[in-house]
Subunit: 394 residues, 2 copies
Amino acid sequence: PGKLKAKVISTAKSIKQLGQNDPRRITHSLKVGLALTLVSLLYYARPIYDGFGESGMWAVLTVVVVFEFTVGGTLSKTLNRGFATFLAGALGLGADYFASLFGKDGEPIVLGILVFLLAAAATFSRFFPRIKARYDYGVMIFILTFSLVAVSGYRVNELVVLAHQRLSTIIMGGATCMLISIFVCPVWAGEDLHKAVSSNLEKLATYLEGFGGVYFQSSENDGNGIGKSYPQGYKSILNSKSSEESLANFARWEPGHGRFRLRHPWKHYLKIGALARQCAYQIEAINGCIVSDDHIQAADEFKGKIEGSCTRMSAECGKALKALATSMKTMTDPYSSANSHVENSKAAMKDLKFALKAATLENADLAAILPAATVGSILVEIVKCVEKISEAVQ
Amino acid sequence: PGKLKAKVISTAKSIKQLGQNDPRRITHSLKVGLALTLVSLLYYARPIYDGFGESGMWAVLTVVVVFEFTVGGTLSKTLNRGFATFLAGALGLGADYFASLFGKDGEPIVLGILVFLLAAAATFSRFFPRIKARYDYGVMIFILTFSLVAVSGYRVNELVVLAHQRLSTIIMGGATCMLISIFVCPVWAGEDLHKAVSSNLEKLATYLEGFGGVYFQSSENDGNGIGKSYPQGYKSILNSKSSEESLANFARWEPGHGRFRLRHPWKHYLKIGALARQCAYQIEAINGCIVSDDHIQAADEFKGKIEGSCTRMSAECGKALKALATSMKTMTDPYSSANSHVENSKAAMKDLKFALKAATLENADLAAILPAATVGSILVEIVKCVEKISEAVQ
């Protein structure tokens, strides 16, 4: 019983944690509950709206399947579902009519062939990356509706009534979802994407701003373990590609909201995101240098010589990124603030080159200074990367 | 018309390309067509199997929704759907009975509250990463079935008949999918994962094997543009995390097949995959050094000194990775072949240290040799990484 109690407590804690991390999750759950209850009760009370009949079920089905976390997700699924149902329904009616021309014996054969061909072709189309990203759900609903309509065995005039009922209930369910997701505490995919990209820049900035101090001072103290205790927030950027892409896909379906117009250049965020990842890869390489114990051997004298310029390079890069992130958040032109930091970091890069040229290496051997030199060299790459990011943001 | 023709031709080409890249896509499309046609015709001929009635529709629905590219995906969706429908159906019956105790007026209110609570709780549970990864679809079907059953407005004894019909048609549709996906040209997620991870190791190996020769010889010719023409196959590894994880998730549902037992350690592949990504990040950093024009300035004399050991390090790493990939493919113990290459690369690493110590730097300045030295230093990290991969594979 003690074990069970502990497990219950830990589960409760993780539920609380999940809600605290993003309170919108709780709101979302309540919104789904609300939409479903509304539509269900409408279905329950169908004797009143007898026009819908059994088809009211499709409204419930639509709500469950279509309601996504973001507005863009919900809109994309609803519109996909609506159009696919309409199109496939019409095609299905046509197929039914066409098959009926072949008489009682030929009908099932023709229908079978048609269903087979259409299902195979539509399934294959789902492998196209562009269709997969945007219309995957629509194609699925298309196959579903087409085969249901084609083989339903109803006569065409019955089918028209049925199709009308189903389509109207789907529209009802879809409209409920869209209205609730847009007007009750909306979660905009576009805004999330915007925040994700700018917070990624911030994470990079935090690492770079602190890096110089931590790296160059550590060897004066004990020199080991800093890599492990140092904030590793940037690691989440390494695998951010797929989530950014799906957000950008959803954002395309969203109407203008807040500070974003309808045709906001969402693709541009993907570009900035890719550059941020590039920068994170470089940091990962630096981090490898820090974590490995080699840097203890690094000649302190040499480290002292490059300390100033390296620290400045990384700090200025960090400041530039922070300025870019801030200006993204406030949607102002970052030119003046970020650019001066970029210029400063480039100046520091030149200082590093001079420091390296001036470093006399008569008593220090190259193997010992290599780790520190590598860090400097990768910082140079980071400066270039930050410059590109700064250009992209503007 | 010429423009239209060109577009048709280019579309046709891209369709052909898609099929050629992975012919299993064509087979998959035909399999879906087959399954759907079988189930549809059964539904069409339902006067014969009158037990199913209207519910035959659910078999069609199941096939469309459940049939995935890999066996594991199909099994996971089918089992999720089956269990969720059963569980939610039973709970829905209970809720219906419970609500009926409150009389005609209380019933819709109680049902509404129950649907709201259950939908909100279940939706929230989908945010748990573990549930999201494995049971997302099941939870969705659970919400769907529960609300459909609870608010259907049928009496309980009618519902039992209906539930039995629906469940049996879902099982029929699911069984069709499972049988076809397992016995007709199966695509095993586990095997795909195995191949993906070992081919990732091979991509790394290809880069590393060729790297030394290309990098050190390029400066003797013209020295620019090699980075761009050099095979960039490793880039796909950088973003491989999500696809590997979903394959591993599907693989867990698959029965033993070919050379894989039922409880094959799929998680282990994720570990190897993560190490391979780590290695790819380092290569990305090296690649940055190559692409940037700095290496033209690199002192040729110094480069000559470290050429031997660096080329050997990278070539031996490449050979070790290739041996590991081969032994993964043949599922033999890689100990003897890979280990000797790892040892060789470590020996080369020591040579590099000696070469660096021996390098007299009186006339060469540090800024000029830095890029080449950085490449050497990152190669050292790669050697360590390859050693870890080799340990993980064994």
